[in-house]
Amino acid sequence: MTDMETTAASRQQVDAGRELPAATLAELHEIAARYPDRRSALLPMLHLLQSVQGRVTAEGIETCAAMLDLSAAEVSGVATFYTMYKRRPVGDYHVGVCTNTLCAVMGGDLIFERLKGHLGVGNDETTDDGKVTLEHIECNAACDYAPVMMVNWEFFDNQTPESAAAVVDDLVAGNEVRATRGARVCTWREAERVLAGFPDDRADEGPSAGPASLAGLQLARERGWRAPQPDRGAADGDAVAADQASKGVREESDVAVDASPAGTRHQDKKRSRDAAAGTETSNGSSKEAGT
């Protein structure tokens, strides 16, 4: 029997008698097949199991262990190491309030207090209706938008206790909620599926960037600041000729750039930036960022 046959046989053994849906088992195998070493699949596999079962179950641990030729203890050791894996059922909406230093100082502590009272739950607890799990979280890399709240790992920027409570009310009421920088909020289980490597169709929702992400860029546009112009002649040898040829084409098109209505999208970044001098571009983007 070859190794592959052995693996296939053991997979069938593993799959038999499990209560997980066959489609889930197939997807778990699919994840494992992405990697040169199947064990690398363990984190995304646990994400997928959470999307199906709402938490990491003993059954899920056993399934991963059997599929990856690990002991249940090894898988359990991994599942308990990472904070995103939950052993107790998570609500439809995981609400995380950043209470690391900067967000705490900027109001995160007060937001967290308010939500605890508002929802009647403590840290890492779920409301009785199973809708919302509240947790204080560590720095989520959005400090320029402090204080920050995450709903199913989508950004809710510059929150106040009032705005945070309003978001939670909307979630509980089943209203559509949109992240400040992100998509329409999906359920926690749907989010976990994306993290397992099965994309949904929401990548194109939401803005490119929020106002803080663009703060320096907009100022540079207003003041005409930019990086030095590259000296094309000094760039690496082989590419010079081709580059200069294309430059000639560009210089012709620059005439059209200058004459066309502001806000038109152009091929040549550098020159159109010169022409626009930060007027239309920055206005356009601040509109986008504001929505």
């Binding site: 064990r39 991994v78 230093t101 560590e138 998509a183 320096g216 990086a227």
Partner: protein, 436 residues
């Protein structure tokens, strides 16, 4: 003379649907890739070396030199791993970059993988940023469909696959060897070095691990040349980089500037510390870099300048705190973070961070004694440098620096028997109220 701000990495963030391949290609996107594929791998490494690009994840190690450590002509597969596990408190540059322009990163990945002769690359992104994961997944998918990824890229004969891998919540996985363990499906715990990842990294094969911003800087170097890149910055710290201002500043956000700008200059362009208040303390590069104060406003924010001032450039995460902030509360909260995030592998860190948190909790509540300050310093002394990785060093940094600069404020807590600060006064809502 270079302009104060030099948007390159952030230059396309305000374009319409900037995250899409169409928008990226409109601005010459994937043009740098052609230039790279037209050169030998060694030439690309040489170019990045001579550009002076240093790692933007905190340590500042020269990127080209790191690539040069990968053994050539061995029979093992090589791997490129992008560290997109941005989690250092205060650090918020890679997430907006990947949100607004994931293709800049993907193009950088392809060029870098080509240079180190890797045919498989991973983007290890923290799991807690769903929309960024989506944008990366989409960008990689678009790149495959356009022939920028997959077999025989642009007819060069070079093959590359990229896997977007979401983490699951662990600060320690930002440490490169812990990240590798995590990517291998284990608990994220640091490895003893040597061997370094360049020799025995992922699956014990030669591996380059670079921060998002480092890899995203590669396409502009290919496009514009090493001299262009190194014309920005200071003597030993070259290029343009993202500075992230947060906290009590009028216009927080991302400010891309040449390395070596000062906080005074950055505050000037960011509208200053919030109105009616003054700078009390700040971090130059996240919470693991020793605190600095108003006396350091003119320190050049490059690797050497901040080092000479007794701190570290780190991730250039400038967290600004004004006089309404209690430094003891701030440091306690960071300490609780390190306690929570210590992976538990090394005893000085696992036990030490718990003792630090307990002692600081007493002090913050105005209990304890002055001798506790000496205990803290002594504890830090016994923790720093005694673990596999730098997490514990980071835990000690805010404590020792805050005692150095704000010893009286600790003592004031003891005199008052409580924290003498009003928590409401430091909040964003207080700011809104004050300016309304």
């Amino acid at each position: 003379m270079t302009d104060p701000l030099t948007p390159v990495l952030s230059d396309n963030w305000d374009t319409d649907r900037s995250w899409t391949l169409a928008a990226y290609e409109q601005l010459d996107g994937y043009g740098a890739l052609d230039k790279a594929l037209g050169q030998t791998q060694d030439d690309v490494i040489e170019l990045v070396k001579s550009s002076g690009l240093r790692g933007r994840g905190g340590a500042g190690f020269p990127a080209g030199m790191k690539w040069g450590f990968i053994p050539q002509g061995d029979d093992k597969p090589h791997y490129l791993v992008v560290n997109a596990d941005e989690s250092e408190p205060g650090t918020c540059k890679d997430i907006p970059l990947m949100m607004a322009s994931p293709h800049t990163l993907v193009e950088g990945v392809i060029i870098s993988a080509y240079a180190i002769r890797a045919n498989l690359a991973f983007i290890y992104v923290r799991g807690e940023v769903l929309h960024v994961v989506r944008r990366l997944q989409r960008a990689v998918q678009e790149a495959y469909l356009a022939g920028h990824l997959g077999k025989d890229i642009h007819g060069s004969g070079f093959d590359l696959d990229v896997i977007v891998h979401a983490g699951a919540g662990a600060y320690i996985c930002g440490e490169e060897t812990a990240l590798l363990d995590s990517l291998e499906g284990r608990r994220g715990q640091p490895r003893l070095r040597p061997p370094f990842p360049a020799v025995a990294g992922l699956y014990a094969c030669p591996t380059v691990i670079n921060n998002v911003e480092t890899i995203a800087s590669v396409p502009c170097i290919l496009a514009n040349g090493a001299d262009w890149f190194s014309s920005m910055g200071t003597d030993k710290s070259k290029g343009t980089t993202l500075y992230s201002l947060s906290g009590h500043v009028n216009r927080p956000g991302q400010y891309e500037a040449p390395l070596g700008i000062t906080l005074r200059q950055l505050l000037d362009v960011a509208g200053g510390v919030r109105h009616g208040h003054e700078l009390k303390f700040w971090t130059p590069g996240g919470s693991s870099t020793p605190l600095l104060t108003a006396e350091h406003l003119d320190v050049p924010l490059d690797y050497e300048g901040v080092g000479a001032a007794g701190s570290m450039l780190g991730t250039k995460a400038l967290q600004i705190f004004d006089e309404t902030t209690c430094v003891v509360r701030a440091v306690l909260r960071w300490t609780e973070f390190y306690k929570h995030e210590s992976c538990g592998k090394c005893t000085p860190c696992r036990e030490g961070t718990w003792w630090l948190a307990q002692t600081l909790t007493r002090l913050e509540q105005g209990q304890g004694t002055e001798a506790d300050l000496e205990t803290l310093v002594d504890l830090c002394d016994n923790i720093v440098g005694r673990s596999f990785c730098a997490l514990a060093d980071g835990a000690a940094a805010p404590i020792t620096s805050s005692i150095q600069f704000f010893r009286d404020e600790y003592l004031e807590h003891l005199r008052v028997g409580d924290c003498p600060f009003d928590r409401e006064a430091s909040t964003l809502f207080a700011m809104a109220g004050a300016s309304a």
